[in-house]
Symmetry: C2
Amino acid sequence: MDTPVSGKLPPAFIAAMRLRFRDRYSDSAAVRLQHGRDESAHAPQPPDAVLFAEDAEDVVAAARLCDEHGVPMIPFGAGTSLEGHVLAPQGGLSVDLSRANRILAIRPQDLDATVQPGVTRKQLNAALHDSGLFFPIDPGADATLGGMAATRASGTNAVRYGTMRDNVLGMEVVLADGRLVKTGSRARKSSAGYDLTRLFVGSEGTLGFITELTVRLHPLPEAVSAAVCSFAEIDAAVRTVIETIQMGVPVARIELLDALALTAINRYSKTQLAEAPTLFFEFHGSPRAVEEQAQTVQDLAAANGGGDFAWATRPEERSRLWQARHDAYFACLGLRPGSRALATDVCVPISRLAECIAATRADLAQSSLTAPLVGHVGDGNFHLVLLCDPDDDGETARIHAFCARLAERAIALDGTCTGEHGIGVGKSDYLESEHGAVAVAAMRAIKSALDPKGLMNPGKIFPAG
Amino acid sequence: MDTPVSGKLPPAFIAAMRLRFRDRYSDSAAVRLQHGRDESAHAPQPPDAVLFAEDAEDVVAAARLCDEHGVPMIPFGAGTSLEGHVLAPQGGLSVDLSRANRILAIRPQDLDATVQPGVTRKQLNAALHDSGLFFPIDPGADATLGGMAATRASGTNAVRYGTMRDNVLGMEVVLADGRLVKTGSRARKSSAGYDLTRLFVGSEGTLGFITELTVRLHPLPEAVSAAVCSFAEIDAAVRTVIETIQMGVPVARIELLDALALTAINRYSKTQLAEAPTLFFEFHGSPRAVEEQAQTVQDLAAANGGGDFAWATRPEERSRLWQARHDAYFACLGLRPGSRALATDVCVPISRLAECIAATRADLAQSSLTAPLVGHVGDGNFHLVLLCDPDDDGETARIHAFCARLAERAIALDGTCTGEHGIGVGKSDYLESEHGAVAVAAMRAIKSALDPKGLMNPGKIFPAG
């Protein structure tokens, strides 16, 4: 593993950081390496040093020093990003916010909570136990809320509850020069000025550090039930989803998995699910509403040739089912022991989904690649887990070429090169294809306006040059 | 009425505009005056000339000429804004987009539509007739969708369907120098780069002209029912709303009107509603879901001392009820014939709503002002229709002082100085109170980055100086 010796930081900066932060500042090789990689297949690029920040005051102090000495800054949460967001291609200081993990307020009457950025979604939901409320955004990993906001994360519940874009009411952000910005308020809606909250959500740490968030909470549904239903063909499953959405059935989750993903899950999770294209459903509401929703969807599935629904109504059955879904990534890895996985995602209008998936599967076959498909199909979003032998350069090259075609295919179908993983270092080549040169120029102008020295998470989002 | 003679525009600009646009370019006093005011009480400030643009190409050509000659540009839709957004304090060119009113695509499978900015919400809903879909955002006035996006409009349905922020998928925007930007895509969600769509939504024409929008559509509910319920005290009504939201009942509309507003409505709309604090409800869903929602809310209202529900289930009854609600503004004017009205809005966390309303009513009484209250109470948003004798300078001064206190009160309660009307020229004094100096500096930096010459709708949002 490549861990270049630190030594690029100005001695005056190092001295000031040590004086201010003592042993919360580290430049040990192990700590640096740990902060130089995420869950993606991108090659690690360690920072020159790491600060374990505990609050906004720490971040302000660090940002002022970085600004003064021209040191790049990389926000770090749980390290669960999937496009190399935490890598340090220009070195600099990784600011680990995982210790800034206090829940500052939970307000049941207003259905909101204010947290530090290092609070994870599971931690918040544990704290909400007995409140009758929950935080729905669920990207799979137990990511920090700061990281989830920074990457505009979503996940299985987004079809009903929205993404981080919809569930962050306001934030506190430290800019590159150490100035502290408050965005939004606790009002549910506002027409007061530019929507800085939405600008920082999804900015991937390139505009500032999120040091506090106020997020929306949702009432726990009175009843929940889950089911799986398999289909002979993916098209029929997608048609069922389109009709479900068009009828306004407020499903909480609709996930599509292809036959290969089911094979992987059965092996890994010891389930006996049909190894065919399958929809996973979850319904939330009153007992009557859940029953009614389920009946409507069952009728639609049957009309599209779907099999019987296999129900999981008890909490432990449901957990087992969704755990199997969430373990799909690891299950897929198990399909070819010793392989690594490259996870990629795109999102298209739902009317183009079947077409996009069909073309993509043909491309996979032609490229001799193995990649189970799992998708948040209610949003038109799907993921591929591309299995990769790290020692096979040919396969790696084929995967990269395939991913480029997939991104361009999604864009050509009026979609996006990433529905929820973000651009990071992995997808900056497609930014201009998707948005056009003027939009990218506008994004760069905003970046320069807020971070004129280019110190915030350099090398991310924007293509080099 | 003050209509300064035009003559501030450079002759070369006028000549080029006339050559390009012929009689679609006008500097007649009548046309200018018509474009120098909106539905607010702000004194008219006419532009020097008006262009009736029909498409993006027109706007690009006009923006290039304005950029070249340093002429301010003011986007104009239906003229229904409420904070002076279309006024021309520095003169310049008003670009009327009401003739750019083609519906470019309706895609039932994807639940979206692409329209030119001059399409009004009623026009879009008429075109959706028989599609089983509708566009829910309803600010009362038949505003253009471009104007609604520019002011981040919402209205009575927002509690269930969100605001323009949530319902615009993507846009085409012409920047001040004539460059054309595409934002977003038709994918339901994306993590690809900065959220320019949300930046332009609510930017009040200060960053560019919206020349095309793709908006979300929603399935028409199978069943709809509406009801009114009166309460002895506003607090009890607000408590009912809080409990409704907390239980997760997906009400489509919950509106609060105070006793004075009911008096006004009864007189104007010839209704016989109880002249007491009243909630207007609308429920959307399957027949069973609607019945169940309504029962839950009735139980909550009864427990809070509410009266019996008066139902309106047939479409014509419902239309009559909501027409009465929508006519509240004109009804309020009728309370004091000859008066003008100043409509203002604030939005607070719902837990602070009763407190905010109580303090506001006390303030009204102490200020000897008459102002019925109507509110989108599910969002914590309420409006006052302040009746004003234009010849009474003392009353006008008291109204302005009252509005300032109201805005600061909402901000102090973690809310916003405007939930849906926008800042315009009327509320720029509160921008910094609400967001802080650094956030306003960040907004200004973004404005300068995208409109370095400051030609787009100058004098709006930002306080002078």
